[in-house]
Symmetry: C2
Subunit: 775 residues, 2 copies
């Protein structure tokens, strides 16, 4: 909480007038940076990493504890698990909370003494891997003691750089191993090609091409050191090469200035050095020259970069100032931290970027971003960023999506993209709601007419995911396309956001066409059983039908009929009528949350975690469901379920996340929920009101401030009593985006018993296409 | 012969005055283009290809008859052998006469009917391979009937494009197979990656990355068709992929618009088409956009491109107008044709190019060229091009070499480079004499001071090929570096050319340093045996010593003491004194030519062919040796040996070349020799006079004309009687480059008996560093 009591009345007055925040003269409170614990989610199901990263930075410099294929890779999606006793090095790229394993580029590890092992070894066999001690981490900083070489290792990161600092023992020779073979989720042939060379000025540059999740992914690096290189070896360990070509200059690896191949490891020698060695590494997706230019574009030593990145985090996290007790404050600021990492910067400092066509483009007038986990992030992560990040940043995201469509060989928007490349992971065309939501919220810097064309091109691309049949039949038939039920409802929602934008842009024909498609969720809904079901091309529902079954490639995507039957966020009123009315809808919601799972085993399904009955908070399809009680006129039931979820699914510990953080979506859910509202249907311009979990929050929204106050909040006072907006009673369970952007104060008065009158009327409920809530 | 008798006196008068050629008004003679037979060298040892290519064109569009690993690949270095009964397709890149197998990019093959095989098959098993009939070829044009699909196939090529024309049977469906798996000299893992996609406008683009002779080599293509594509399949046949990633849009290969992988083949359908199908293909080393731009930069259909390229050949070949009987005329024009293919254009139409560092550079103010077979071509090929190609073209070559040095990870000039990439093939730093020769001849458009720096950087690069020891000991020691004897003498010659250029540029220190190194050939010469020998670091010569032994990695490079003992082209006088004088030198030359090989088997050595005793015309180290009699004051003996070589080593038949053409070196030898002179020591500014093999030749040198007349030439009149230059007696066996560039007439009067007086005096002999001939 940064404001003194004295300053508040003045501030409130200015906020009510919609004006900007006045200059502050009081002593600053502790920075939100210090409330972040990067270890949260690094064990259990979170798949986060503890290393150093700048907000939306290209580089995620973090320790890897396991990268190989030998053990299950899913649990090491970010290369690291907190409980692992050893570290094998520090690599420069990591996903924050992905459900698939990849990255881990350009692993660096310090080694002391005369013998330099060039293999990592295992926790039990010798190698450059070391035991660890005294780990600490904060935004933009990570440190650990590597007890085997006796080196204190520190990491920080800038926008396109990572900086290592290694304090070696003064009595032993200092070396680094740079292992171009190391990759998260390794298998034969994954590293297509790699190269390394020493340039005349001592800069080391190189590249990798990886055949992994996004294929082929190219990444380039440039490295400079604070101490002179006194020797080196470039070694290839590849065994199965039939033809090796002619030999280049030099007799042994110690004289090679350049080496390329599929299995390269470098030993870099620095003799004995008294001062800690600083290793500054830049990445580029374009080329080595790009990496060198990126390196030069961020001058300064370790401490300078660390300070700059800490300031950037203080600014980014400072967009939400929260007053809450320590466990909740840590949870929320860590969630906010995790929501400010992706989409990551992908374009070079000079504006060039490598696209999905594997060609170099730009400069394009914006900063290219990638790592779009859109099936996850369209829900709450992107809506959160539209509020707490500048318009220019949100425009970068949207313009990156549109540029991705223009340069995609199929001419469609990104689905699940990183390193500029498509992975074809998950379903839907959820770049569409991200773009529509940004345009409908009036984010500046987007050509929304051009955006609409890109959206329509994706939605009409027949070869993608059963769209040809969807456009003909009104649903995706399960006998022709897997996960048909999920696809049908997600397409319908995406279509609705196209219609919304087309309507705003005055394109009535497109609006009408996609409004019709938006109703397609009904074509896969079985009113008789009350569940969304996969339907065959002949019109019949597929049997046998088990609403609790979860299998990959089945009727649903990472879920079952229980979760997916609620996915028509734009038309919950229509659903409730189909179910037989509000009371039956509430009963079905209760049946979902209270389901007895004792006879069910989901251990075969990787993403299924965080279960509350058949509500599965560890995966995204459930994320909006607790808010649906409000759509049925029972907001106090939403309030109860939110308490149940927040308390069971988020803890300030390494295994404190109930599911994959999914590039910020799990975290964004908590940030919104803690503030008291949530974007159930991005594109609607509305947030459903739940209940707050912090005493006070102040959001920076553009040049305005929006304050949330929860008077009387306590464990006992768990229900919303009254709500006011800017001092006036708010008699609906909805707040609009325009109301938030105008600045002001949303004040809850909490109480120990349900208020069964507030926001129960039909007009007081959130937006629904065929029902209530059309404001 | 293009000039009438009437025109000659006038022309001669103008030539004597050094003025430009007057406008011609007579009827033009048959074009030299029609004297070229592209099949010469496509069997036997020549390794040439019969397909379509423009002068120095990026594309060599030619039939492949065998590309796989199953049979010996050396004989299919250009993908084709004339005697093979079947063709498996037409690919876009080929070496002309290389001694190593590679290229064969983007194989296209027409298929008729309803069944389209996607495997080539063998000559005996079904596949898209076809039997052939009615082959014809001329510069820029190749045609063949593919009897199995019943298709007449024609090929032509522009600067960066190849154009196919296929006349299909009207009653069968027309298809093309585009096989991205096909590569000359195939082995597991050679194709690192490939991709293909159809762009919205119907253009097909794609790429390959090859792990071959130059690694990794990247090449991109763009294809457009004269008829609409009616269907397609993109198929991957790769079997051993552990992780395939998620599936992109489309159900089967017929709906894919894009595919990438290690083993891709495409079927392209055109239904039944009445008009021949034209397929226009552009290449680029930069990216797909570059290929598209290259395609657009050369508009026109098959006939237009063919006519344009024919005109380009007429102009390039027309630089030497020859009067000779048919067999000799065909041999020489085909040789000239083969000498005008490499170095090939490598930069894109927009000036960008991919360098040895695998990065994209440019535009750089010149057209980047690659395919530098420098160990071969520094001898006669590049000196020929300095005379008959414009300064701008020669400057392109030299500037490409210098750019290659600047972007080489080792900072040294190209050794054996293609596709912008170094292969580390053969020995020496023979870009150095190419650049020195061009600078010393005053070729415009070169920064010779910068060039000298690049040359010195290469010559002083210690890790390369024993240079560290060479600089310390004055020779390369065989116990530390293979092929040490050959390396020592070739370095010494290269060093001499550095000294020559440094002297001209006024850099006395560099000149002195490299003049000293130029004498290093003596440090590996054993005066006792009279042979160049490999010496060990302790100063002793390596034993056992067999001057006839030829083994890879032994004391010599693709040769033995017999050939290599003559390689000090800058100091033959010094050699002859070491050998004991002119008479002993002549005796030793005779011993070489007349050596009885009946007890020797060289069948294990690939490049050893065209033997006349121990003179081996099929490989380069011998190429200057016949001229050395003139250095000993016995030019009539040179004349005899030249007749012996020309008549035995060059025939107008597919197996008419005695050895690999080596990107024009074998051919350039014949062109020079036929004209009556040869550049024994490029960098000397001199050509040793031999004897002419054509009645008359007229060379276009810049804006001047240089005419050679051989009065009375016949099989009997095989000796030079008298020689005049511009009407004045020429009493030396040397003509200078300046004399040729000034324009004029060199007139030989031939006779049946040796003239044992002409050019026998010491001062009349060609240049030698420590002997005669310093003009």
């Amino acid at each position: 909480m940064i404001l003194t009591r004295l300053a508040r009345p003045l501030l409130l007055a200015s906020l009510l007038a919609g004006s900007a925040l006045p200059a502050q003269t009081h002593t600053p409170a502790p920075s939100p940076v210090d409330a972040v614990d990067p270890f949260i989610g690094t064990s259990g199901e979170g798949h986060t990493f503890p290393g150093a990263v700048a907000p939306f930075g290209m580089v995620q410099l973090s320790p890897d504890t396991h990268v190989g294929p030998a053990r299950q890779t899913y649990n090491w999606a970010a290369g690291y698990r907190h409980e692992d006793p050893t570290i094998l090095g520090f690599s420069h790229t990591h996903f924050s909370g992905a459900g698939h394993s990849d990255l881990g580029d350009f692993l660096v590890m310090p080694v002391s003494g005369d013998t330099v092992p060039l293999e990592a070894g295992t926790a039990d066999t010798p190698g450059y891997r070391s035991r660890k001690a005294d780990e600490v981490a904060s935004p933009g900083y990570y440190a650990v003691t590597l007890t085997d070489p006796g080196v204190r290792a520190e990491m920080t990161a800038g926008t396109r750089i990572g900086v290592h600092r290694y304090a070696f023992r003064a009595d032993k020779a200092a070396h680094l191993v740079l292992d171009l073979r190391s990759v998260i989720y390794d298998y034969p042939g994954k590293i297509l090609w790699s190269s390394i060379r020493i340039r005349p000025d001592g800069t080391i540059t190189g590249s990798r091409e990886i055949r992994g999740w996004a294929t082929p992914r190219r990444l380039f690096f440039a490295i400079r050191f604070s101490a002179p290189l006194t020797g080196h070896q470039f070694v290839t360990t590849e065994k199965d090469v039939l033809y090796k070509g002619f030999k280049g200059p030099g007799r042994g690896p110690e004289t090679l200035v350049s080496l390329s191949g599929r299995a390269i490891v470098a030993q870099l020698d620095f003799s004995r050095i008294a001062k800690p060695l600083e290793v500054k590494v830049a990445l580029s997706g374009v080329d080595e020259d790009g990496a060198i230019a990126n390196l030069s574009s961020e001058p300064g030593d370790f401490d300078a970069i660390r300070a700059k990145t800490r300031a950037a985090w203080a600014d980014a996290l400072g967009a939400v100032q929260i007053a809450a007790p320590a466990p909740m404050r840590i949870n929320i600021y860590t969630a906010l931290y995790h929501s400010l990492m992706a989409p990551s910067i992908w374009g070079d400092a000079d504006g060039r970027w490598r696209g999905p066509d594997d060609q170099v483009h730009g400069p394009s007038g914006f900063t290219m971003h990638s790592t779009f986990s859109l099936w996850d992030t369209f829900r709450a992560e992107h809506p959160l960023l539209t509020l707490i990040q500048p318009d220019a940043k949100n425009a970068d995201f949207v313009n990156s999506l549109i540029a991705g469509q223009k340069t995609n060989p199929f001419g469609i928007l990104p689905v699940w993209q990183f390193a500029g490349k498509e992975t074809w992971t998950m379903i839907g065309y959820h770049a569409v709601p991200v773009i529509a939501d940004a345009c409908l919220k009036g984010i500046k810097g987007i050509d929304c007419a051009a955006a609409l064309k890109a959206m329509v091109a994706s939605a009409d691309y027949a070869p993608y995911g059963g769209l040809s049949d969807y456009m003909k039949l009104g649903y995706v038939p399960i006998d022709r396309e897997p996960e048909a039920a999920s696809k049908t409802v997600e397409y319908a929602y995406d279509d609705w956001t196209i219609a919304r934008l087309a309507r705003q842009l005055g394109d009535a024909a497109t609006a009408q066409r996609f409004e019709k498609r938006a109703a397609n969720w009904r074509n896969s809904f079985d009113a008789k059983t009350g569940f969304l079901r996969a339907r065959k091309a002949d019109g019949t529902f597929r049997t046998p039908f088990d609403p609790t079954a979860i299998n990959y490639g089945s009727d649903y995507t990472e879920g079952n009929a229980w979760q997916y039957s609620w996915f028509m966020p734009h038309d919950q009123g229509g659903l409730f009528r189909l179910l037989g009315g509000d009371a039956k809808a509430v009963a079905k919601l209760d049946a979902m949350f209270d389901y007895d799972n004792s006879k069910i085993d989901y251990s075969h399904a990787e993403d299924i975690s965080g279960l509350i009955g058949q509500y599965i908070h560890g995966n995204e399809p459930s994320h909006h469901v607790a808010y649906l009680y409000s759509y049925a006129g029972q907001p106090w039931r939403t309030q109860e379920r939110l308490k149940q979820i927040v308390e069971s699914q988020y803890k300030p510990t390494p295994n404190g996340l109930a599911g994959n953080d999914d590039l910020g979506q799990m975290s964004a859910w908590l940030v919104f929920t803690a503030l008291g509202f949530y974007p159930v249907a991005p594109g609607s311009g509305e947030y459903a009101i739940g209940r707050p979990f912090v005493e006070r929050a102040e959001m920076r929204v553009g040049d305005k401030r929006f304050i949330m106050v929860a008077d009387g909040l306590s464990d006992a006072n768990r229900y919303v009593g009254t709500v006011t907006l800017n001092g006036q009673p708010l008699d609906r369970s909805v707040i609009t985006d325009a109301e938030i952007r105008a600045g002001g104060e949303l004040r809850f008065t909490m109480q120990p018993t349900p208020n069964k009158i507030w926001a129960t009327g039909v007009k007081a409920r959130p937006y629904s296409m065929t029902g209530y809530g059309k404001r």
